[in-house]
Structure formats: structure tokens, C-alpha cells
């Protein structure tokens, strides 16, 4: 299904970039780029683009966006590469806006004063990212280019955020106030999410094998795991509290292991229960979906059932199984954040503590790394699945 804009044409005008660009221009001028707070709790005063970064900064932002819009209308052959340059550079240098903003507006001799990021900045970030996705799609960029770009932008952000001017940024302040807690949260979050995914992968593999060996089990197993998936996380965590605390008060030995009504035990149990459905379904579909004529060919040429499984079924099923692991991992990273409600720790702790104290920057300190982890897991596992698929696309 070739669409004209896709095949013949790098030179055709692109309507997506101008649409995104105009929206970005409107939002960045209408919304607040940042706010200055005298201290952590008191609401701050907002600054629009012009007031925040001055004529020069506002001019640069407007110029970059307008440039992208104009470029997308020109019929140049290397247009998308130019666009990639403009948009990529803008994204990489975005923290500079915050830097300039803090320099211009942060009162001196006010140790508790802080600058925080406004909606305008987030919108600009979001829309520029969309433009980048669109450009990469039009360029049919390979994984290596995408990865390289990501690394460049991430490095630039880390360098700029680590630089002097941004100490006042509230997010950075919140982080600097509790680096150990942050590290601890990261470790707990990863341990809970990946531990649960690993355990459920093993369980799901065995269940899927059971379903393949004895098809009678297919309905009950799939029914049970999709039932588990339907129950909302908060309910599952809640429902596990009573039986687990009853169990641990009946067997005090369990308590010394850390198994109680709240904490990591119910969190891991619930995470495993949630992970089973995507894992079981993908593993089953993957192994069962290996075309029968291929299995037949292998068998007809003298492979034993074991060889068939290890050399034909499993390798062909692996990309789909990994896809299941990917879905499960993303889901587990998100649910681990909820598990903080029952005292399991992790980044959810920052989110709910922040919500409780109405300290929005603490909320961000929990939410942003959670999203980052999910995106990272997504990217890594997508790449893994792609590299395990040895057959290039059909020509």
C-alpha cells in the first residue's frame, strides 16, 4: 500500500511537520515556559517565553520552529536531513532555555528560591519529539541512527543539567536533596519489576508448554490468567494484604523473611500475577504459531521431537516470546510504581509522597524516571527482538 508521500517522495511537501511546528509555536508563546518559586511549597510566578528568556532566546526558539516549517515546504532533496539537524539540535539544546531562564529571574541571596519547568517547555519538548519521530520515519532511519541520536540528545541533556546554572531547577534540587534515596528507589524499582518478570517468564513458559502438550488445559489456564489481569492493581494489592498478614502472624518465621501484608511480598506476588497473561499468551501463540508445514518438513527429514523443539520451534518463536517479555516489563515497571502504596518502595514512593505533600517536583522526580525506565526497557527489548529475527523483511 504505497502512499505517494512515502515512496516517490522525499521532495513532496510534508504537512505533518508544519502542523506540529505551528502548534508548537502557538503553545510556546501562549503558555508559561517556567515559574520561579520563593521556596518549595509556595506557588510561584509564571513567565512566558519572552519574559523568561528575552528577545534573543525567544527569537532563537521561534526561528528554529519557523525554519523547520519553511524547510518542510521546500523541495530540496536533502530536506529531511536538514530538518533532522534543526530539530535534533533544538532538542539537544533545550535545557539551555532553563539555564537562561534561571540566570535572568532567580533572585540572588535567596537560597530556597527555585525555578521550575512550565507547561510551555513540556509542550515544546513533546512536539519537537513528535517532529523527530516523523522525520526519522520519513528518512526510514535504521536503528543505529536512532540510537546514536538518542545518545547524543541524552548526553547533551545530562551535561547541561549537570552544569552550574541549573542547580536552582526544582527537579535538580529535589534530586540533590536525596541522592541516596533516589539510588535506593532505582534499585528497588528494578529489582521488583525485573524479579517479577523473570519469575513469571519461567512460570509462563511452563504453563504454555502444558497448554501445548495437553490442549484441554488451554481454556482453564488462559481463563485464569486473563481473570487475574482484569482485576485492577490497587484491588489486587489490597486483597493480598489480609491473607498475607494472616499468614505471617500464623507463621512468625515468614516475618523474619520480610513476608508481611505490606511490603515487597504482596508487590511481587501481584506483579507476577499480572505478568502471566501477556507472557503465557505470547509464548503459547509463538510456539503454537510456528507453521505446521515447517515442523512437518523437519520431522520428515528425521529430526527428533527434541531437535524440532530446540532448533525449529523455539528459535522461530523467540521474537514473539520477547515481545511478550517487552509488554510485561513495561507493565511491571508501571505497576511497581503503584506498589509503593503498599510500602514496596521504588519511584512510586516519590510520586505518592509528593502528591501527599503537594510537592509537585517530588512527583516529577518519581514519575519521570518511571517513564524513562519504561521507554528504555521498550527500546532495549524491541532491539533484542529485532536482532533475534534473522530473516530480513521480504523483498
Amino acid at each position: 500500500m504505497a502512499t505517494p508521500g512515502h515512496v516517490s517522495g522525499q521532495a513532496l511537501p510534508n504537512r505533518v511537520i508544519p502542523a506540529l511546528g505551528l502548534l508548537a509555536l502557538a503553545l510556546v508563546w501562549l503558555m508559561e515556559l517556567g515559574t520561579i518559586q520563593p521556596n518549595r511549597i509556595v506557588p510561584g510566578t509564571g513567565h512566558g517565553l519572552l519574559s523568561a528568556v528575552g528577545w534573543l532566546g525567544a527569537g532563537l526558539v521561534t526561528g528554529a520552529l519557523a525554519g523547520a516549517i519553511v524547510l518542510s515546504f521546500l523541495s530540496l532533496r536533502r530536506r529531511y536531513w536538514l530538518l533532522l539537524g534543526v530539530v535534533g539540535l533544538s532538542l539537544a539544546l533545550m535545557p539551555l532555555l532553563l539555564d537562561v531562564f534561571a540566570l535572568r529571574h532567580l533572585p540572588e541571596n535567596a537560597p530556597y528560591a527555585r525555578s521550575s519547568i512550565g507547561a510551555g517547555f513540556w509542550c515544546l519538548l513533546f512536539l519537537l519529539s513528535l517532529m523527530l519521530i516523523e522525520i526519522l520515519g520519513r528518512l526510514r532511519a535504521g536503528r543505529s541512527l536512532q540510537l546514536m541520536l538518542l545518545v547524543v540528545i541524552a548526553t547533551s541533556w545530562l551535561l547541561l543539567l549537570g552544569a552550574e546554572g541549573l542547580e536552582s531547577l526544582s527537579l535538580v534540587r529535589e534530586f540533590n536533596a536525596r541522592p541516596d534515596q533516589f539510588e535506593q528507589a532505582l534499585r528497588t524499582h528494578l529489582a521488583l519489576a525485573f524479579g517479577a518478570v523473570a519469575i513469571s517468564a519461567v512460570v509462563a513458559f511452563l504453563l504454555a508448554l502444558k497448554m501445548i502438550r495437553s490442549p484441554g488445559w488451554q481454556r482453564p489456564i488462559l481463563g485464569a490468567v486473563s481473570f487475574l489481569q482484569t482485576i485492577p492493581s490497587l484491588a489486587v494489592f489490597g486483597l493480598l494484604i489480609a491473607p498475607l498478614s494472616a499468614l505471617s502472624s500464623a507463621f512468625p518465621a515468614l516475618q523474619s523473611l520480610g513476608i508481611r501484608g505490606i511490603g515487597w511480598a504482596p508487590a511481587v506476588l501481584a506483579l507476577i500475577a499480572y505478568s502471566l497473561l501477556p507472557m503465557v499468551r505470547n509464548t503459547y501463540v509463538a510456539i503454537n504459531g510456528v507453521p505446521e508445514h515447517l515442523v512437518d518438513a523437519g520431522r520428515g527429514m528425521g529430526m527428533t521431537e527434541r531437535q524440532l523443539f530446540l532448533q525449529v520451534r523455539l528459535p522461530l518463536a523467540l521474537p514473539v516470546i520477547i515481545e511478550g517479555v517487552r509488554i510485561t516489563t513495561i507493565q511491571a515497571i508501571g505497576l511497581t510504581a503503584v506498589a509503593a502504596l503498599i510500602g514496596a518502595g521504588g519511584f512510586g514512593g516519590f510520586i505518592f509522597q509528593g502528591l501527599g505533600e503537594a510537592a509537585m517536583d517530588l512527583v516529577l522526580l518519581g514519575a519521570l524516571p518511571t517513564i524513562g525506565l519504561a521507554l528504555l526497557a521498550d527500546a532495549l527489548l524491541t532491539m533484542l527482538a529485532a536482532s533475534l529475527r534473522p530473516t530480513p523483511a521480504t523483498t
Binding site: A19, G137, I231, F237, G238, I333, A374
Partner: protein, 248 residues
């Protein structure tokens, strides 16, 4: 109409339990003899159920209209330019954990029902959008061409061919969206929306397991009810609208 029996029974059970929870006081007392109050009483369970349903219902309705419209536009000739971006956003967006989306809505919109509603709509949009695109794109092009070739207008092809064929997949997307949103709305208690998550959160804060249990049971029942409703809907759709939908 046997498929409609389980959702009907579940609805009865859900409403009944919401009304009759206070009557179960002796049971919860037996479980937690050391607590004075064992029945959550800041709001009635029926009110919380209503509010929870309203949040999910509004977000599902708005999300469905917006996502289906977006999906249709992106698959028309005039909107094709936007298709790659929209489908990418729909899939990348789903990697954002719902809790994080909820948390991000608060700094921008403040506490209360508004941020929840916005977060639920935005997040709930994605699975519906993704399935609408998959459903329409999955239709064998020959079917569409046959419709056009026999003199149907593009609008007729959309309404009489594409939407009925893609309907089952779109419905599955709405089901996913509602399932996720029931769970997210429950967590919404932490940002000030009054939902069935309230008793759970209150119970966790005060160490009152009975509260937690009451909230958790009702949330679980609500999710099961919604799920069985969709199950019945999908079965009925399969039988009546497109018995042999040929969606790849």
C-alpha cells in the same frame, strides 16, 4: 441471550454489595476485633461507585469518539500523511505507565477530578486509536476496492464496509481502554478524585485492613462486571454484525 446473564448477575452483585456493605459489619469486626470502625463511612459506597463509573464512562465516551475519528481521518487519503506519526504515537504512548501519566497531570492541572479525567481520556485514547488503525488497515484492500468499484461512495464504503469489518477490533480496543481506566481511576484517589480507591487508600494510611478489603472487593467486582459486559457485547457483535469478519 445466555451471554448477557453473567454481566447481569455481576451488576446485581455489585450494586447489592455497595448498598449492603454496612450490613457486613459483624464479619469485618470478627476479622479485626481491635478496630472501632470497620466500615468505611466517609462516603457511601454507592456514591463512590457512581463517581468511579462516571469518570470511566466519560473518558471512554470521549476517548472512543476522538480515537475513532482520528483513526478514520488518518486512514483517509487526505490524512494519510499523518498515519505513520499517529500510529507511532499510539504505540509509544502506551509504554508510558498510567500512574506516571496521572502523576504528570497533577502539576499541570492541579488536584481533583479534572486531572484524572484528562489523564484517563488521553491514556484511554491510545488502545482505541491503535485498534482502530489496525482494524481499518487490516481490511483486505480488495474488499474496499470492490465496494468502490460497484459504485459505493467513499462514505458508504466507510460506514457499510470498513467500520463493520473493523468494529470487532475497535471494540476490543475500547475494552482494553476501559479495563485500564477502571484501574487508573482507582489510583486517582491519591490525587483527590473520589472513587472506589478511597477506602483502599484510607485503609492503607490508617492501617485498617477492613477498609482496604471493602474497596478492593468493589473495585475488583466493577472490573469483572465491565469485562463481562464487553465479553457479551463482543459475542453479540460477532453473531449479529459480522459473523465472519475477514480482518487479517
Amino acid at each position: 441471550m445466555r451471554v448477557w446473564l453473567p454481566p447481569f448477575l455481576l451488576i446485581l452483585l455489585l450494586c447489592g454489595l455497595s448498598l449492603a456493605m454496612p450490613m457486613l459489619e459483624p464479619v469485618f469486626h470478627w476479622m479485626q476485633p481491635d478496630k472501632q470502625s470497620v466500615i468505611y463511612d466517609r462516603d457511601s459506597f454507592l456514591f463512590l461507585l457512581q463517581n468511579h463509573l462516571m469518570l470511566v464512562g466519560i473518558s471512554a465516551a470521549v476517548g472512543t469518539v476522538a480515537a475513532v475519528a482520528g483513526g478514520i481521518i488518518a486512514t483517509r487519503r487526505s490524512g494519510r500523511d499523518f498515519l505513520p506519526l499517529i500510529s507511532q504515537v499510539a504505540s509509544i504512548g502506551q509504554t508510558f505507565p498510567p500512574v506516571a501519566v496521572l502523576a504528570l497531570a497533577v502539576p499541570v492541572l492541579g488536584f481533583g477530578e479534572a486531572p484524572i479525567l484528562v489523564a484517563l481520556i488521553l491514556y484511554g485514547l491510545l488502545p482505541i486509536l491503535r485498534n482502530t488503525l489496525a482494524g481499518i488497515e487490516g481490511i483486505n484492500p480488495a474488499v474496499r476496492e470492490a465496494g468502490l468499484g460497484m459504485g459505493m461512495s467513499p462514505l458508504q464504503v466507510l460506514v457499510r464496509v470498513e467500520l463493520p469489518l473493523a468494529g470487532r477490533v475497535i471494540l476490543a480496543g475500547i475494552r482494553t481502554s476501559v479495563t485500564i481506566n477502571i484501574a487508573t481511576a482507582a489510583i486517582g484517589s491519591t490525587v483527590g478524585a473520589r472513587t472506589l480507591g478511597d477506602p483502599v487508600i484510607a485503609g492503607l494510611v490508617n492501617g485498617n485492613t477492613a477498609y482496604v478489603l471493602q474497596g478492593a472487593i468493589l473495585i475488583g467486582l466493577l472490573a469483572l462486571t465491565a469485562d463481562s459486559l464487553f465479553e457479551a457485547l463482543e459475542r453479540t457483535w460477532e453473531r449479529k454484525v459480522s459473523p465472519t469478519a475477514t480482518v487479517a
